[in-house]
């Protein structure tokens, strides 16, 4: 065994082989490794994003439900209010109408009774005059004692 040129030749060619490996073998291998890393990283990121989105959607849904519930409560409240208002208004209207009707009826009654009284008064006055005429046919002049008779009739 003696070490000579053979050894150096082999070392040079080994150096070339190492260079060749670094230049042509390792890069595709490295690319495969990196693409694998990237795929995994992307997958994990996508999963994380999806989870975050789901969480967001969940909270949004909860928010919407809460808002809808509030809205519904509000609407029911307003409906109740309106109902009460309508009922109150109807009541007030009914009372006012009743009062008005009563007033109209009262006025009619008043006017009728007034008329009747007027008619009665005149009839009484005429009756009294005719009676007095019959009694006092000769001495009393109807036209001369008209004042007196009217005053009498008014006292009825």
């Amino acid at each position: 065994m003696n070490i000579n040129l053979t050894f150096f030749g082999q070392m040079i060619s080994f150096g070339i082989l190492v260079w060749f490996t670094m230049k042509f073998i390792w890069p595709p291998l490295n690319a495969a490794i990196e693409s694998r890393q990237k795929t995994i990283a992307d997958g994990l990121a996508a999963a994380e994003r999806a989870r975050q989105e789901l969480k967001d959607a969940d909270s949004r849904v909860a928010d919407e439900i809460r808002k809808a519930r509030e809205e519904a409560t509000h609407i029911v409240d307003r409906a109740n209010q309106q109902y009460n208002q309508i009922v109150d208004k109807a009541k007030a209207d009914a009372i006012a109408e009743g009062a008005r009707q009563k007033a109209v009826a009262q006025a009619e009654i008043d006017s009728l009774s007034h008329q009747a009284r007027e008619v009665l008064r005149q009839q009484v006055a005429a009756l009294a005059v005719s009676g007095a005429e019959k009694i006092l046919k000769r001495e009393i002049d109807a036209s001369r004692h008209r004042d007196l008779l009217d005053a009498l009739a008014k006292e009825i």
Binding site: M1, N2, I3, N4, L5, T6, F7, F8, G9, Q10, M11, I12, S13, F14, I16, L17, F20, T21, I25, L29, N30, A32, I33, E34, R36, Q37, I40, A41, L44
Partner: protein, 273 residues
């Protein structure tokens, strides 16, 4: 070497490089083969073990991604070939593949580098008497040990899948089926055929790998002969580099073939005829 006659020098050179570090132990023991294969096997275990221990479910480090790619590749190959419980088959295939890749890769290390190391540390006289072959798979002992282990694993799989009776029956009734008296006539023929078929598997596995790696090593040695003279020095370097680059393919291909054939044989052992 340049002082000696060209053929004699190359002859001696090759003979020297093809001599194992033999230890007188029983019928002999190749210390170099044993040591290198052991160290490389431990290196594989250490590497993959550490990466497996540090593995995360998140974005892997480059080292982890590399190991994952290898494991996934082997598992994919096994999945395509073997349809069954892969829990023991994939680790076996992975171990065979990586270990053989590691051992084959020793072929790329310059032939005279170990010798140079010995010479510079222990002197020329020791170097002249120290034989060390760096490529364990260029030693038939290694490849045959691997393939015989695979052979026993195959028998284990056959027994597990068919039972002792079923396996024995298959040895006697396949590949030639017959009924009645003819079955008894054909039984020894079938047994003979099956024994050949079974023995061919480990022998072909071992011979293929050994032949390729031994041949590769020998070509490196012949090219080294070119490097001995000034005229052929540059062509020698070019040839050496070209062969080394081509050898990268052989290293991976032979490991892959050994692995995939093992899986194919396991699948075959589990299936009936």
């Amino acid at each position: 070497m340049s002082t000696e006659a060209a053929t004699g020098g190359l002859n001696e050179y090759i003979t020297h490089h093809l001599t194992h570090n033999l230890v007188k132990l029983g019928t002999g023991f190749h210390l170099d083969t044993w040591l290198v294969s052991l160290v490389l096997g431990l290196l594989f275990l250490l590497w993959f073990g550490l990466k497996a221990r540090k593995a995360t479910a998140g974005v892997p480090s480059k080292g982890q991604a590399f190991v994952e790619i290898i494991v996934e590749f082997v598992d994919g190959q096994v999945k395509d070939t073997f349809h069954g419980d892969r829990r023991s088959v994939t680790p076996l295939a992975l171990t065979i593949f990586m270990w053989i890749v590691f051992m084959n890769t020793m072929d790329l290390i310059p032939l005279d580098l170990p010798g140079w190391l010995v010479q510079t540390t222990a002197g020329a006289e020791t170097a002249h008497h120290t034989y060390f072959r760096l490529v364990p798979t260029a030693d038939l002992n290694t490849t045959l040990a691997l393939s015989v282990s695979v052979f026993f694993i195959l028998i284990g799989h056959a027994l597990a899948a068919k039972g002792g009776f079923g396996f024995g029956k298959e040895l006697l009734t396949a590949p030639f089926h017959a009924h009645g008296f003819l079955a008894f006539v054909l039984a020894p023929v079938n047994l003979f055929m099956n024994i050949i078929e079974w023995l061919v598997k480990p022998v072909s596995l071992a011979m293929r790998l050994f032949g390729n790696m031994y041949g590769g090593e020998l070509v490196f040695m012949l090219i080294a002969g070119l490097l001995a003279g000034w005229v052929t020095f540059v062509p020698g370097i070019i040839a050496n580099t070209a062969w080394a680059i081509f050898h990268i393919l052989i290293i991976l291909l032979q490991a892959f073939i050994f692995m995939i054939l093992t899986v194919v044989y396991i699948a075959g052992a589990r299936e009936g005829h």
